[in-house]
């Protein structure tokens, strides 16, 4: 799902100049060249069709039936979609995913910007290398392992509560993942920790592309670090920020692994998200139709949220 969305903007921007240089060939052999081109991407396209397009279409088809996954199915029309929006439990899971965007997207991007500009300032020192590695580490660790480690940290006797007690804050200690009011934020913190590294690294890479002369000129004009950040860094990083926001928003809306490992949707559905709900519906309750309908709704929601982000940055940069 992540592939085509961030891809469309970037690929086209790069392919346009290439198409222009090839234009003398146009009248002569475009048709042949085009055919050969299609031949080259045929294997990839076949895989894409079989493993991406077909499952999407089949999911949509399943969503129109009432089916237990094995026996005969009955036509349900759009009844399953009505269920998705009228069942308070299913709709609540979508709301939870939207709430997770704050943790999965806002925190990593804002914090990532701050960290990346700090690291950029000390770029030549050894500390920068260490900091980069440490911050990117969560990306390397499998999500399942991260989820298990965090559920220990956040348990009632875990490190988080030990530190709080040591600081004299014993009164607010609790089983963070088992408390109705803190479970969803606690899951969000795990997500923020995982995605912070990705955002920092992307933004850092973007920063290294900025012409150093710009900073020099700004400094000569008497700009402080804050002015440099607002006038040079932020505008130059528009593309990178868009990629970060897109990837993290999708991670929030389509979250599954972290929630499955740390809370399984509990306590009392406080952390239930669509990804997990789809899994339970399809494989535990064997309501394949409703599960597929929710999956289609989730996919449309992701597209509806991700496309405007793409458009926003493309319009300004062109």
């Amino acid at each position: 799902m992540t592939g085509p969305i961030p891809g469309t903007g970037v690929d086209l921007a790069e392919s346009r100049p290439a198409a222009r240089t090839r234009s003398p060939l146009r009248r002569h052999g475009l048709r042949r060249a085009g055919l050969v081109g299609w031949l080259f991407i045929l294997p990839a396209l076949a895989f894409y069709a079989v493993f991406v397009l077909r499952p999407i279409l089949v999911t949509f088809q399943y969503s129109l039936y009432t089916w237990d996954g094995i026996g005969p199915s009955t036509w349900a029309g759009f009844g399953n979609y009505v269920k998705v929006f009228t069942d308070p439990g299913l709709f609540a899971s979508i709301l939870n995913a939207v709430k997770l965007i704050v943790f999965f997207s806002a925190i990593p991007v804002v914090l990532g910007l701050a960290i990346a500009s700090t690291i950029r300032r000390i770029a030549t020192s050894r500390l920068a290398l260490v900091a980069r590695t440490v911050i990117f580490l969560p990306q390397v660790i499998p999500l399942v392992a991260a989820g298990i480690a965090w559920s220990w940290l956040l348990s009632s006797t875990g490190v988080v509560n030990q530190v709080l007690t040591y600081l004299g804050l014993g009164g607010i200690t609790r089983a963070w993942l088992g408390d109705f009011s803190t479970a969803l934020p606690a899951v969000g913190v795990i997500g923020a920790w995982v995605l912070l590294g990705l955002c920092t690294l992307l933004l850092l890479a973007g920063m290294s592309k900025i012409d150093p002369a710009l900073f020099e000129a700004a400094r000569l004009d008497g700009a402080g670090p804050m002015r440099e950040f607002l006038s040079i860094v932020l505008p130059s990083l528009r593309q990178e920020i868009a990629v970060c926001v897109t990837v993290t928003v999708i991670a929030a809306l389509a979250s599954f692994d972290i929630v499955y490992i740390s809370t399984q949707g509990g306590p009392g559905n406080a952390t239930m998200v669509p990804g997990l709900e789809i899994y339970y519906l399809a494989f535990s309750e064997r309501r394949v139709g409703v599960a597929s309908a929710l999956a289609v709704v989730l996919m449309l929601l992701v597209i509806a949220v991700a496309l405007p982000i793409q458009r926003l940055t493309r319009d300004r940069s062109s």
Binding site: P72, P267, E285
Partner: protein
């Protein structure tokens, strides 16, 4: 943007590809479902057996439970022509895979989750013929009751037999003998009031009264809740509800008393403060580590506790609210079934019969599995070390049979009732967001909509 850049025939090609993939999935889902033979049952005149020709049985077991493998090894020793091709998975995986595996690649012998839905799809062998041939019908009826399904595949507990147990487990209350001595508990309580007394004493003495799990998708407070239900009322209506008998309800006056009693325990602080974040494994390690006087759990842990808390763990059945009242316990067979289209069904059935009747097999069942073997009343029982938990759980099994108090687990009423209804509502009750009345009404509502169909 992309639309303008792409020549028209590229779009056409995409349409062809898309159309092709769509066409590939066009038939209504499930229309290719395998048609099983009519489920009339095997009409064997002589008892089926494994013969003498070499045969390989395909089996699908649960990871982490050594009993089935120990039994198959012994079986091959006695019947050398039978070899095994065993695949293992976590129970959660088996639960999700069972229908597909039974439809596509049916094993001769398989560890099963809830059977109703598998029967509905004609995936399980009807075992009535085997029951007749081997004489299983003469065993205590309660052993096989949970694996029976009425015609129509909805009501459980009566009708044809669709699976068989390797043993049957028993639940009750484990206790830590050292902590019990500290609060002056000399013998297990005989009434609910007596149990309440001990809980209060433990709380006052700074001992954690109850070790229980209630985190994630597994609401372990269903264990004490069902025990309380059986303490306040008879076991039969609870079974009727689990078996989906028409008109059955969980929202009864005696069950409400039980739910209120559980709420009283929660409010008194008898459970851990973080019980909503405690999973099963954490509960076990804390109880073994001496954190918790009582624990509501089953005899599949007897062997484990005898090893890890040798001499320090005890077991008793949940006492009744009335002095001398009948006792009840959740008790369920370790369910194994035969695929409807399995190749060696007869040999698999012979194995299941052997497990229940061969004395060496019964020894293994108790030694390795810790639970009571299936089979006729008064069949061979191995000697167990006196004073062990295993001894008390086996004795409890006999008492439950005497009181006719075996219940299935309220979590097994429908496929989704545990994860979607009991668990969230019990977790809410712990957090003070659900009342006992609300708990029963909510669960009954979900039950009605789930049992009614999709």
């Amino acid at each position: 943007m992309s639309r303008r850049a792409r020549p028209r025939w590229h779009t056409a090609a995409l349409v062809v590809i898309t159309g092709g993939t769509l066409a590939a999935g066009c038939a209504a889902p499930g229309s290719d479902a395998p048609k099983a033979e009519p489920a009339t049952g095997t009409s064997a005149s002589t008892a089926p057996a494994c013969g003498t020709a070499p045969v390989t049985l395909k089996a699908y077991f649960e990871t982490g439970f050594p009993l089935p493998k120990a039994l198959t090894t012994e079986f091959t020793k006695q019947h050398p022509n039978v070899t095994w091709n065993i695949r293992e998975d976590q129970f959660a995986v088996i639960t999700q895979n069972a229908p597909r595996v039974l439809a596509d690649d049916p094993p001769d012998l398989m560890r099963l989750p809830q059977v109703s839905e598998l029967v509905k799809d004609d995936l399980l062998k009807n075992m009535d013929g085997y029951a007749k041939a081997f004489g299983w019908d003469a065993w205590p009826a309660s052993q096989l009751q949970q694996m029976r399904l009425a015609p129509g595949g909805k009501t459980r507990g009566e009708g044809s037999l669709y699976a068989m147990g390797l043993n049957f487990s028993m639940t009750g209350v484990f206790y830590n003998k050292k902590l019990a001595a500290r609060i002056g508990m000399s013998a297990p309580p005989t009434t609910l009031a007596g149990l309440d007394d001990l809980l209060a004493k433990a709380k006052a003495a700074g001992v954690d009264p109850i070790a229980q799990f209630n985190g994630g998708a597994t609401g372990g407070l269903a264990f004490p809740l069902q025990n309380l239900m059986a303490a306040y009322g008879p076991a039969a209506p609870i079974n009727d509800w689990i078996f989906q008998k028409p008109g059955a309800t969980i929202d009864t006056p005696s069950n409400l008393q039980a739910a209120r009693h559980l709420e009283k325990w929660i409010k008194a602080g008898y459970f851990w403060k973080d019980v909503n974040a405690v999973d099963y494994a954490t509960m076990m390690s804390r109880f073994i580590g001496g954190k918790g006087l009582f624990m509501f759990d089953g005899d599949w842990e007897s062997g484990n506790l005898d090893k890890q808390m040798a001499g320090d763990a005890g077991f008793f059945l949940m006492p009744s609210a009335q002095d001398g009242g009948k006792l009840a316990a959740m008790s369920a067979p370790l369910v194994f079934g035969v695929g409807a289209r399995a190749k060696n069904a007869d040999c698999a059935a012979f194995f299941l019969n052997w497990v229940a009747t061969d004395s060496k097999a019964r020894d293994i069942t108790v030694e390795v599995g810790g639970s009571h073997p299936m089979g006729p009343a008064g069949a061979h029982m191995p000697a167990v070390k006196p004073g062990t938990v295993t001894e008390s759980t086996l004795a409890a099994g006999a008492k439950i049979v005497e009181d006719n108090g075996a219940m299935d687990f309220i979590a097994n009423a429908t496929g989704a009732i545990y994860a979607k209804s009991w668990t969230p509502n019990l977790q809410k009750m712990v957090a003070g967001q659900q009342t006992p009345e609300g708990l029963l009404t909510a669960v009954q509502g979900d039950y009605t909509s789930q049992a009614g169909g999709n």
